[in-house]
Amino acid sequence: MSIEQRVENIKEDLEFFEDELQKYEYIIDLGKKLEKLDEKYQIPVNLVHGCTSQVWLICEQVDNKLIFKGTSDAIIVKGLVYMILQIFSDSSIEELKEIDMDIVHELNLSEIITPNRQSGVIGMIKKIKEYALKA
């Protein structure tokens, strides 16, 4: 599935909730599904810049694809990390190199995430792109 299709799927899921708090409940639940990231990876080199909370993101290359794992010390941000991983993990390096979209805008996250926290989501995407460019 392409990155665009995955964005559309997440967007549809989020649009299902009219109430903002329900949307957050959903995001919190997504965070609970996040695969545990071993503490040995929760180190400064894996930190995402721009987040008000701490977010760690690591990457593993399998053939021509990148698999991402990540977590956060904040519960809601964990849900955001889950969404970002759903969109970008297991994508081809070529596709990841070309990421050039305002995910916050695409997912209408600007309605539910403050400007400070939006820069954290953008930081995650930048880090994903960095990994792809280095791969």
Binding site: E20, L21, Y24, E25, I28, K32, T52, S53, D73, A74, I75, I76, V77, I112, I113, T114, R117
Partner: protein, 394 residues
């Protein structure tokens, strides 16, 4: 009971509990802004036509109001600035830079830490920090030790901590500092909103004042400079309205306060500042202190009922701000959720990272009250916090 004086509360159903960041503006203050721009918008201290004279008169009247409000001896001791940050940077650079040692407290805002770093000072190298105990109380004995070791220092201490609401006994601090020939600047960013300050009674040398945290428009503040220091404080910028005579070889400056107020000032803001102080006179500090103490106590009692809440100081000797966390939760998560429940408060380090690091935390949830807040606001906050905690429990 005072919300009726603020248009904001007619237009918003937000429970506003971020008063340490900025206060709402009374109708009289907002009206003064509209009146200036609609009826006599002109520059001050320059032109001589009717509206310009009126603007100058209103501007200077604001200086007189502030002078009387804080009981300064003379109007020239009042210098208008953009706010406390500019006031502190101004005195740090134009007066205090040559002092061998600067002494600050553990609870300072970044605006009373970074200006000293900019001068190449660091802990033990021109900068000393007074310890506090585990209730965040200022350690007066440690302060005296530092003064003994570093006589004739520059002491720069906050009156009320923006992050924790802790009140420093600035009278005691100033008296002790003067005993050791130190010069004292007080960061009064949070002061005037909550309590009366009297320059004569305090005998303070410099006192930084915020307008926007004192019900005035943003972008305006002041620095009180005791008369005897006016000639020693260097100007930090020059331009229009500071100058007596200029030719291409040299220039001579006007006297204080004008030599310190270069360029066109925030005229509307300063006039609004005067209006805000008049409004506070109308409300009265007796009422402000009574209401705030009552709401603050109620807030503390209700917060204490919440599970796993962590405080960093008791509320004795505190006012305005109550900072806390919940065990096992990041403050950010709580902040996001209560925002969606129309509660305005602040989460984070509150521009006081050193004390957060000393407490081994990244930040806190800070509720900061004003005299317009009431029990109902506290009740709504508690409902929102309970709901957020429920959502965040595993």
């Amino acid at each position: 009971m005072f919300k009726k004086d603020f248009t904001y509360f007619e237009n918003s159903d937000i429970v506003y509990l971020d008063n340490a960041a900025t206060t709402q503006k009374p109708k009289t203050v907002v009206a003064s802004q509209v009146e200036y721009y609609e009826k006599y918008c002109a520059n001050t201290h320059r032109s001589n036509f009717g509206d310009a004279n009126k603007a100058t008169q209103k501007f200077e009247n604001a200086r007189k109001i502030l002078k009387n409000f804080i009981n300064a001896k003379k109007t020239e001791e009042i210098i208008f600035t953009k706010g406390v940050t500019e006031s502190m940077n101004f005195i740090a650079n134009s007066y205090a830079k040559d002092f061998k040692t600067v002494i600050i407290s553990s609870l300072e805002h970044h605006s009373n830490i970074v200006p000293w770093h900019m001068q190449g000072r660091s802990l033990g190298k021109g900068l000393e920090v007074v310890n506090c105990n585990n209730n965040l109380d200022f350690d007066i004995e440690d302060f005296e030790r530092l003064l003994q070791e570093n006589p004739k220092s520059f002491v720069s201490v906050t009156h009320i901590s923006n992050a924790f609401g802790k009140i420093h006994d600035i009278k005691e601090i100033i008296t002790l500092a003067h005993k050791y020939k130190a010069v004292v600047m007080i960061d009064g960013a949070q002061s005037l909103a909550h309590t009366r300050v009297d320059m004569q009674e305090l005998d303070v040398d410099f006192f930084a004042i915020s307008g926007h945290k004192t019900y005035a428009p943003t972008g305006v503040g002041a620095i009180y400079i005791k008369e005897k220091y006016l000639k020693d404080v260097e100007i930090y910028q020059t331009g229009g309205a500071t100058i007596d005579q200029v030719d291409f070889n040299s220039s001579t400056l006007l006297d204080a306060p004008y030599k310190f107020e270069a360029g066109t000032q925030n005229i509307a803001g300063i006039i609004g500042f005067g209006e805000a102080l008049e409004y506070l006179n109308h409300v009265g500090y007796e009422n402000i202190e009574l209401i705030e103490k009552d709401v603050f106590n109620y807030l503390d009692e209700e917060l204490k009922k919440l599970p796993n809440i962590i405080f960093y100081n008791d509320i004795k000797d505190s006012i305005g701000s109550r900072s806390f966390n919940f065990k096992g939760l990041i403050h950010d998560d709580v902040g996001i959720l209560v925002d969606k429940m129309k509660i305005a408060l602040r989460v984070g380090h509150h521009c006081a990272q050193p004390i957060m690091k000393a407490l081994n935390i990244k930040g806190t949830i800070r509720v900061s009250i004003s005299f317009y807040n009431d029990y109902n606001d506290v009740d709504k906050l508690i409902v929102a916090l309970k709901k957020a905690l429920k959502m965040l429990e595993n």
